[in-house]
């Protein structure tokens, strides 16, 4: 049986007014407006959360986990994203204080995803050195991995098949707890404090491996208010903080590329910019670059849809919080990565599969027939991309028509032309009153007055 695809991003039907703002902003054209409500096309949605950000009526929402899940485990570990730190600022703020705050919210332990990011940075470097493919693209942002699966399947081989920091964090944390406290894996719950819905989806259905070590993803937005309640009362800031500034800076764009530290690298943030770069890579450009960090959100994870702080403020907060941290990854981590690299500890276990959304038919000849129909249909559409039909563009409407998901009458302009010619036809018909009852009717038929008299 095919498992239903889980999506974090969902529609709040009641709030949706059926406007067409979201359909235009969706990078995979995954939204249609039908019967006055937005519908998310499951196969196309990559859970990037652009629609959550743009919807003026808050009709898009991320389904995620909450604190009630903690009670299901004997022992719980919080895995705060580096972008979580960036939500907090102030003269007395420190990462240790934030971590202490998480313990007060009910977690038994914390493990910094920023620390795992340091292991992952070195693992990525290791992979880049072993591969001849250029440019290699980071797989850390799950929205980008899914974007590549659906829109750029030919670039899958460019993705670095290394686990994301949160997955390594969960595994390292659980291994440590199992070792120290003698607990079994399933007794320990590891919870990611997440800036984005894409990560929520990844926890539920990982790409490139079967079984996630992360048990839940709690949005930063749900943790933030609770943190504000406890932070003012935290004085002692014993050394909970472990990660260096190299790991913490993964929370914002350029953090990862700098941490990986291969000779030629660049960072792209904002999903539209990423799409532009991926299109260039598809035609063979950027092949002199070793590594590209791609982030769906502007500013990187600090710009995630489930964060609270303004992304620019958060960027500065990271700067402040990392000012006095060591700026180097410690040699122990390097040795550790070296030790477990060969065992495949950091590598994705399964291939990342393409999920192409553009294909019109499985059969080539049928696809060509549909393609020709599509071209013809497109010619009859006005090309204004107004979105009134509920599809994001005329091209998308033509595709929807060919796929049987829409009809030409959905286009208001085609409809108007149709109504106009129908009205003209009606008028014409109205004029054609049978000659038996009207002189005009007879005259129209070319019968002269005399002839009619006869």
């Amino acid at each position: 049986m095919v498992q239903p695809y889980f999506h974090s991003v969902t529609l709040e039907t009641e709030n949706c007014k059926g406007c067409t703002i979201c359909i235009k902003r969706c990078p995979t054209e995954a939204i249609r407006v039908r019967s006055g409500k937005a519908r998310i096309l499951e196969l196309r949605c990559i859970d990037c959360g652009e629609c959550i950000r743009i919807c003026p009526n808050h009709a898009k929402r991320a389904i995620a986990d909450d604190f009630s899940l903690l009670s299901k485990f004997k022992y719980t570990v919080a895995l705060p994203a580096p972008s979580f730190y960036a939500q907090f600022s102030g003269p007395d703020m420190s990462i240790s204080k934030i971590l202490q705050g998480l313990l007060q919210l009910g977690f038994n332990a914390v493990f910094e995803v920023a620390e795992a990011a340091e292991y992952v940075s070195l693992a990525i470097r290791r992979y880049i050195e072993s591969s001849s493919i250029r440019p290699l693209i980071s797989s850390a942002c799950p929205a980008i991995v899914r974007l590549i699966q659906v829109r750029f399947p030919d670039l899958i081989e460019h993705l670095v098949p290394v686990h994301a920091p949160v997955d390594i964090a969960a595994r390292l944390a659980k291994e440590m707890v199992m070792r120290k406290l003698g607990l079994r894996r399933e007794e320990i719950g590891a919870f990611f404090i997440t800036p984005c819905p894409a990560k929520v989806t990844s926890v539920k259905q990982p790409i490139g491996f079967e079984d996630s070590w992360v048990d839940g993803a709690i949005p930063i937005t749900s943790v933030y208010a609770r943190m504000l309640n406890v932070l003012p009362y935290i004085n002692e800031t014993e050394g909970l903080q472990q990660a260096s500034s190299v790991g913490v800076r993964w929370g914002r764009a350029t953090g990862e590329e700098n941490a990986v530290g291969v000779p030629r690298h660049l960072a792209v943030d904002g999903i539209q910019s990423v799409i532009e770069v991926l299109e260039e890579i598809e035609v063979g450009k950027f092949n002199d670059i070793d590594f590209i960090e791609c982030q769906a959100c502007r500013g990187g994870c600090v710009g995630g849809p489930l964060t609270v702080q303004n992304a620019f403020q958060a960027w500065v907060n990271i700067e402040e919080l990392t000012k006095n941290l060591p700026a180097e990854i410690v040699p122990e981590i390097e040795q550790e990565v070296e030790k477990r690299w060969e065992d495949g500890f950091y590598s994705l276990e399964a291939k990342i599969e393409p999920r192409s959304i553009l294909k019109l038919d499985d059969d080539l000849s049928r696809a060509i027939e549909k393609m020709e129909l599509l071209e013809k249909t497109l010619e009859s559409l006005p090309g204004l991309d107004c979105g009134s039909c509920g599809s994001p563009s005329c091209q998308a409407l033509a595709e929807d028509i060919v796929r049987g998901l829409a009809s030409e009458g959905d286009c208001v302009f085609v409809l108007r032309d149709g109504v106009q010619s129908l009205a003209e036809e009606l008028l014409e018909l109205a004029r054609q009153v049978p000659s038996s009852i009207s002189n005009q009717g007879a005259a129209d038929k070319g019968l002269s007055e005399e002839e009619t008299e006869k």
Binding site: D154, V283, G284
Partner: protein, 150 residues
């Protein structure tokens, strides 16, 4: 020019490419790529076709007075004929060497003309033919098989 129209093309498309138009440069390759994706061809095949079409398109933009890329999709392959009118290539062998370029300084400053165009096309193709007449123009014939290995 060899005619491949009759080998059983399922679909044919032609893209016009204007000389020196750097605003639209790349659009033909981009349209072709989307078309091939809609037809559901293998991602690796699409990739090679997109690279070949892009490089051919850039060559027409940079070096010629304008031309066309005609694409036939047959059950076995993608056949591309990239034809331009222009100065032609005096020494084809040299032009096929990596790094050899006749592009002007101005073009190089724009990040083009690295002398990788033809070699990249050749590398992407399963069959590759080039004919050029100095003072008249150049014609490339590129075949990419659906079922090709490397």
């Amino acid at each position: 020019m060899p005619d491949v129209k009759d080998v059983g093309a399922l679909m044919s498309v032609t893209y016009d490419v204007a000389a020196r138009d750097f605003v639209r440069a790349g659009e033909a390759a981009s349209k072709l790529k989307r078309l091939l994706q809609q037809l559901g061809l293998d991602p690796a095949v699409i990739r090679r076709a997109a690279i070949a079409a892009y490089e051919a398109e850039m060559n027409i933009v940079i070096h010629s007075y304008g031309g066309q890329i005609k694409v036939d999709i047959t059950p076995e392959s993608i056949e591309m004929i990239c034809e331009d009118s222009g100065p032609g290539i005096p020494d084809i062998e040299k032009a096929l060497q990596e790094g050899y370029s006749t592009a002007t300084e101005e073009i190089r400053e724009m990040g083009f003309g690295a002398g990788m165009g033809l070699p990249n096309i050749q590398r992407s193709a399963d069959q590759f033919r080039i004919e050029s007449t100095v003072g008249e123009g150049t014609c490339l014939q590129v075949t990419i098989l659906h079922e090709a290995g490397e």
